[in-house]
């Protein structure tokens, strides 16, 4: 009985505490306490889950309701899922710590803690599910929680961003649902493992091809791949910065995880969509890395990089090899941590200098040396400077694309990496080195913000200095994904 409980704990525990936080939200300290208990419990459960998934006794797949598999909601702690749940918990803890100094009582009264926990629960649910329809349900739950978080201040800018986000995400979800309907009509099941072997066994028909195309476009809409990326840099900056950190870290990666499962595993490297995938990846990387160069608002600058990073992951996926999938998983882990940390760092800069605009920021190194060190880690990592995690992530993606016979994609990735480097150098020098305009006084960054960033920076450093363990885990993940159909 404890095994199924442990399996759903990263989903059920935050949902339970979200309900509690919603009930006590009139007392902001109680809401924050509930949020803290929820996040801590989630972190503990995901550590246990990860330990079991990588140790000798993996958790068995659990199908709820006593039905045979393929007929009911199933949860499965496969390796990439268990790893990503752990990373999600890490980001949630970092964001929660940061929020202690950033989130005011007004936002807590509006239900910030409850929505944050619900969002984390939905993301974990998507990472742990073994069923296509269930995946769709978690996507929609995440969307509702995300819309609540995005509009928490009820400002017109936020409402406007939320409408753009909602319209694109609902359209994307509908495409995914049409694809699910077509697949169910052809195969009569929605269990991921069963479907993988069934699709591989049969020749491609009109309906499976159509389903692959629809799901690719739906997930591209959700994760912000070019040419559907336009909503993301508009919607994310409107959110409170901790929420933007969760969005940038978790939501876009959740879309990519589904892309990995559906396009990479279910349709074996995309089937009919395989040739397009590489072009989408190249366009996303180049367009968004170039777009980031033009930005002066720090939030939008990072938002562009969020999409560019998804482009790198898609490049790994487009290689359509086991090494490519391992590269994509490695990049996901790196990117979730670094993106969240960058958004948090930008929030701290805003706290210290009073502006989101890079032209007004400056002087962080002199006034906040600890912050500057913590912020340098994600900046250098995103720029791909060895030995930080971004260097290894870019290296494995480049190798996978070259080995997969796509040298042009590797070239595009290199050009995008150069643009990222320039953009990060610009952000660093404007925010940290220059003298703030008009000799503004730079305030100190609160310790809670530093604590949240320190956690994520330490994780990035650990991956960078000891990449072997994560390499091993991602290779195992890719093996699990490739063999998903064989074990059914």
């Amino acid at each position: 009985m404890t095994d199924p409980l442990l399996l759903v704990a990263p989903v059920a525990w935050p949902l339970l505490l979200a309900a509690v936080a919603m009930l006590v939200r009139r007392r902001p300290w109680a809401a924050e306490l509930a949020g803290g208990i929820g996040v801590a419990g989630m972190a503990f459960a995901s550590l246990l889950l990860f330990h079991r998934a990588t140790g000798g006794r993996p958790l068995p797949m659990t199908v709820f309701g006593g039905w045979p598999r393929a007929f009911a909601v199933s949860f499965d702690a496969r390796l990439p899922g268990a790893l990503l749940v752990l990373v999600t918990a890490l980001v949630a803890v970092g964001v929660f710590l940061f929020g202690h100094a950033d989130i005011r009582e007004r936002r807590r009264r509006s239900g910030y803690d409850a929505l944050l926990l619900a969002l984390c629960a939905a993301v974990n649910g998507a990472f742990l599910t073994g069923d296509l329809f269930n995946l769709y349900v978690w996507f929609e739950l995440a969307l509702v929680a995300a819309l609540g978080l995005l509009t928490i201040d009820r400002r017109l800018g936020q409402i406007d961003g939320a409408i753009r986000y909602a319209a694109f995400a609902m359209l994307g979800a509908t495409f995914i649902l049409i694809g699910i309907g077509l697949i169910y009509g052809s195969f009569g099941t929605l269990d991921l493992a069963t479907l993988t072997s069934e699709i591989a066994a049969r020749p491609a028909s009109v309906s499976t091809t159509l389903a692959a195309v629809l799901m690719l476009s739906g997930l591209a809409l959700k994760s912000g791949l070019a040419p559907f990326h336009i909503w993301l840099p508009v919607a994310y900056p409107a959110a409170p910065i901790t929420v933007a950190a969760l969005f940038g870290g978790l939501l876009s990666k959740m879309g990519f995880y589904a892309l990995l499962l559906i396009v990479g595993v279910l349709f074996r490297g995309g089937g009919a969509t395989a040739p397009v995938l590489g072009w989408i990846a190249a366009a996303t990387m180049l367009l968004c890395a170039a777009g980031a160069l033009a930005q002066t608002d720090m939030r939008r600058l990072i938002a562009y990089h969020v999409i560019a990073q998804v482009g790198y992951m898609t490049a790994g996926l487009a290689a359509a090899t086991e090494a490519g999938m391992a590269a994509a998983v490695f990049y996901m882990v790196h990117s979730i941590i670094v993106q969240a940390n960058l958004f948090l760092g930008v929030g701290a800069i805003r706290r210290a200098t009073g502006s989101w605009n890079l032209n007004h920021a400056g002087g962080m190194t002199r006034s906040n040396p600890i912050f500057a060190f913590l912020f340098a880690v994600p900046i250098l990592s995103l720029a791909g400077i060895p030995p930080l995690s971004g260097f290894w992530a870019k290296l494995v993606v480049l190798r996978a694309t070259i080995d997969g016979g796509m040298p042009w994609l590797a070239l595009a990735a290199l050009v995008a990496a150069l643009l990222t480097l320039i953009s990060m150098a610009f952000l660093w020098s404007e925010a940290c080195w220059t003298i703030p305009a008009g000799d503004r006084r730079v305030r100190p960054v609160p310790p809670a913000m530093l604590a949240g960033m320190a956690l994520l920076s330490a994780a990035t450093l650990a991956i960078g200095l000891m990449p072997d363990r994560l390499f091993l885990l991602t290779r195992l993940s890719a093996r699990m994904l490739v063999n998903l159909g064989a074990g059914a």
Partner: protein, 126 residues
């Protein structure tokens, strides 16, 4: 029969796409809501709907005899609930826009677009 259902789903979805392309946010909302209904129809066709018997295992039997596909119906039920919830959330957002900006024209609602627009750098004191 399948053709008829499929054609109905196609017509509903076509009308929905037409509505979504409108600049009027209320029309867009109605279009998205209609689209989810069209998809539900498609999910219904995807299941086996040749039989009208309820999916109940007869006494003494171990397996389900010929009957309507219960899984497709469960999927549609879930999809209806989710579609309804999202429509309500989006409707609340549109209502908020109407109250705050006094318009439901998508062109006039660009506060998020201008929020973080790139600005030309001011001359720095070096």
């Amino acid at each position: 029969m399948t053709i008829l259902y499929a054609a109905t789903a196609a017509i509903i979805m076509g009308a929905a796409v037409y509505l979504i392309l409108s600049r009027n946010l209320v029309r867009m909302l109605l279009g998205l809501s209609l689209l989810s209904n069209g998809v539900n129809m498609l999910l219904f066709v995807a299941g086996d709907f040749s039989s009208r018997l309820p999916p109940i295992i007869v006494d003494g039997e171990k397996v389900l005899g010929p009957s309507a596909d219960p899984l497709a119906q469960a999927l549609i039920l879930t999809a209806i609930v989710i579609g309804f919830a999202l429509t309500v959330v989006l409707a609340a957002l549109v209502l908020r826009v109407w109250r705050a900006a006094g318009t439901v024209d998508a062109r006039a609602v660009d506060k998020a677009e201008t929020l973080a627009k790139p600005r030309i750098p001011v001359a720095r004191r070096d």
